[in-house]
């Protein structure tokens, strides 16, 4: 009986009489004018999707916080979610495209903070494709060609006559350092740092090594060189061997003195420190790429009383070398030193070429400063010219 009454009671209830808390779902307006195109100036694998913001993004209902981007293989879908950008943004680069030159379809939906998505936008299609040339980098190409012409001109000139390169402080000390080691009966330690063969400072260090090794061969002094990178070690062995041969003492070359230590930064520092303390070299060359271990090495070298000649292009480490070493080749000086020591016409020509490039850069800066002054004083079109010059260097 009770069950029957309950059924009758429920039958009398209508939806209007039931107490319900209804939540009104308000969808934001979708983004419009969606287009998809190949991302310019890349190696492919990317499609750029662009759109006009939703009418409820920053205005209207002002409830849009995100845009969700979806990709499909066909115009009808299905579309898979690929990424999200914040409100106010009007583009998304899909860098997950698997195949170039295949058409993909995109839609974009606006989303509120409650997680309510708008209707889908229009469907846009686009293909990814690689480009051979980055059109934003004309400035690099033009300056590269200009500087290459400087180099070619001076290298050609260097083959005809000897070019002047000013004395570089610290380079004359190379002979002094090797001579001091010889007098003390101690070896010379050459540390190329923890760079690789693709570091320009390591390449410069190897050229300096050739000169130092030739001196040690002439003075019959042992040269020790612990290495961080096996490829640098192989190159160093070849260079030292060549230097000993040029000095007429190929039999004095000991390949085992140029050895691999470890490829751990502080393991290498600990190992070189130990060698400094036990071998007590009379001269230490710290040339190449260094990081946090620079001061550890330079301080230990100082403590064993060795004459130290350092050189690196790492700006943050140069102060440590300057404070702890007898001579320091600062960045560009190190690159010039390698040419200066070799006296090779091609390398001397390259130093002259880089000097010409520096003159060109100084000229550009001075012209820019003059244009900036005139433009700042609102004289003629100089302000526009100044801005054009800045923009040309800032492109890409």
């Amino acid at each position: 009986m009770n069950v029957l009454l309950a059924i009758l009671f429920l039958m009398q209830q209508t939806p209007d009489s039931l107490s319900t808390d209804t939540v009104e779902i308000v969808r934001p307006a979708p983004p419009t004018d969606v287009i998809a195109m190949d991302t310019p100036n890349d190696v492919g694998g990317s499609v750029s999707v662009q759109w006009e913001i939703s009418e409820d993004d920053g205005k209207g209902l002002n409830n849009v916080i995100l845009y969700n981007v979806f990709r499909g293989q066909s115009e009808e879908g299905p579309f898979d979610y690929i990424g999200t950008v914040g409100a106010g943004r009007t583009s998304y680069d899909d860098q997950t495209v698997e195949k170039d030159k295949v058409t993909y379809y995109y839609i974009v939906k606006a989303q509120t903070k409650e997680g309510v998505e708008s209707e889908a936008s229009n469907v846009a299609s686009g293909k990814a494709a690689p480009q051979w040339f980055h059109h934003g980098r004309w400035n690099i190409l033009i300056l590269g060609i200009l500087f290459a012409l400087f180099f070619a001109f001076y290298i050609r000139m260097a083959k005809g006559k000897e070019l002047f390169i000013r004395k570089i402080a610290g380079l004359d000390a190379v002979e002094e350092a090797v001579g001091r080691s010889t007098e003390m009966g101690k070896p010379v330690l050459f540390c190329p740092g923890i760079g690789y063969l693709y570091d320009i400072a390591t390449i410069a260090a190897l050229t300096i090594l050739g000169r130092v090794a030739k001196k040690t061969a002439e003075y019959e002094t042992r040269i020790i060189m612990p290495n961080y990178d096996p490829v640098v070690m192989s190159a160093a062995q070849e260079i030292v061997k060549q230097s000993y041969t040029e000095a007429g003492r190929p039999d004095d070359f000991n390949e085992k003195d140029i050895f691999y230590l470890t490829q751990d930064q502080f393991g290498f520092a600990a190992g070189v420190d130990g060698i400094m303390l036990r071998e007590k070299p009379g001269a230490i060359f710290l040339q190449g790429v260094f990081y946090a271990e620079a001061l550890i090495l330079a301080e230990t070298g100082h403590s064993v009383g060795a004459i130290q000649i350092a050189g690196t292009d790492r700006v943050t480490l140069l102060p440590f070398f300057i404070s702890a070493c007898d001579y320091t080749l600062i960045g560009e000086e190190m690159f010039a030193a390698s040419s200066y020591l070799s006296r090779d016409p091609v390398m001397l020509g390259s130093i002259k070429g880089s000097d010409a490039a520096k003159v060109a850069i100084i000229s550009v800066i001075l012209v820019g400063a003059i244009l900036g002054i005139l433009g700042g004083l609102n004289i003629g079109p100089f302000g526009t010219w100044f801005q054009s010059l800045v923009n040309w260097f800032g492109r890409g």
């Binding site: 300056l143 500087f147 190992g271 900036g372 700042g376 260097f393």
Partner: protein, 220 residues
């Protein structure tokens, strides 16, 4: 238990390395040799796992035959073990140096030369842009732009090797070396602070991970 043993080994080796501050001694030698040996062995496995396997062996197994070329260059380096064929290793070295030099040119142009020029093209006349922060105002003052331009130009003159540092060029280069030394001074202070933070990290480890747990275990 394993973690406790690990902490004790790490703390012991740290103290052994720190003993170098007194002078070279057998403890330092032991720690140094362990460090060099373990790191060299680790590098060996790292090279196998992160370079040879994913970049040579796996692509070959998936029939990507192009990787044979660098593979052959790598194998050529091994000829150094045999004196009669050691010359073969010069080829991969030459390729490495050549390719590296070529790539570096573009990197330097794009990463250093052009941004440096662009950031030195600054207005040194006209109204200064004003901000609420006085430090920002000072930084954006045209006078600051003048200092940047003078600093860059005189530093470039210091690294000009085709003329002796005499007369006008010598004077300009002297101004340049002042700018360089000021920059180095700032860099020195900044980097020393970073090194001190490394030391603090190590002492933090010794106190919190080693000494405090040891003290607690002794007092309970």
């Amino acid at each position: 238990m394993g973690q406790i043993i690990g902490v004790w080994i790490a703390a012991g080796l740290t103290l052994m390395i720190f003993s170098f501050l007194y002078k070279d001694n057998p403890f330092y030698k032991f720690a140094e040799h362990v460090y060099v040996g373990v790191s060299a062995a680790y590098t060996c496995f790292y090279t196998w796992d992160y370079f040879l396997m994913p970049k040579l062996i796996n692509p070959l197994l998936q029939h990507h035959w192009l990787v044979i070329i660098p593979g052959i260059f790598g194998a050529m380096m091994l000829t150094r073990w045999f004196p009669r064929s050691a010359w073969v290793s010069r080829w991969p070295i030459a390729v490495s140096v050549g390719v590296a030099s070529g790539l570096v040119v573009v990197q330097y142009m794009q990463g250093f030369v052009i941004p440096q020029i662009q950031n030195t093209l600054l207005p040194i006349a006209g109204p200064a842009v004003t901000f609420n922060n006085p430090i920002t105002n000072l930084w954006n003052h045209p006078l600051n732009n003048l200092i940047i331009i003078v600093g860059t130009v005189t530093t470039l003159v210091y690294f000009y090797f085709s003329k002796k540092h005499k007369g006008f060029i010598g004077g300009t280069a002297k101004v340049g070396i002042i700018f360089i030394m000021v920059a180095f001074g700032a860099s020195f202070g900044y980097t020393v602070m970073a090194r001190i933070s490394l030391l603090i990290g190590r002492i933090h480890f010794l106190i919190n991970d080693w000494l405090l747990p040891l003290f607690r275990s002794l007092t309970h």
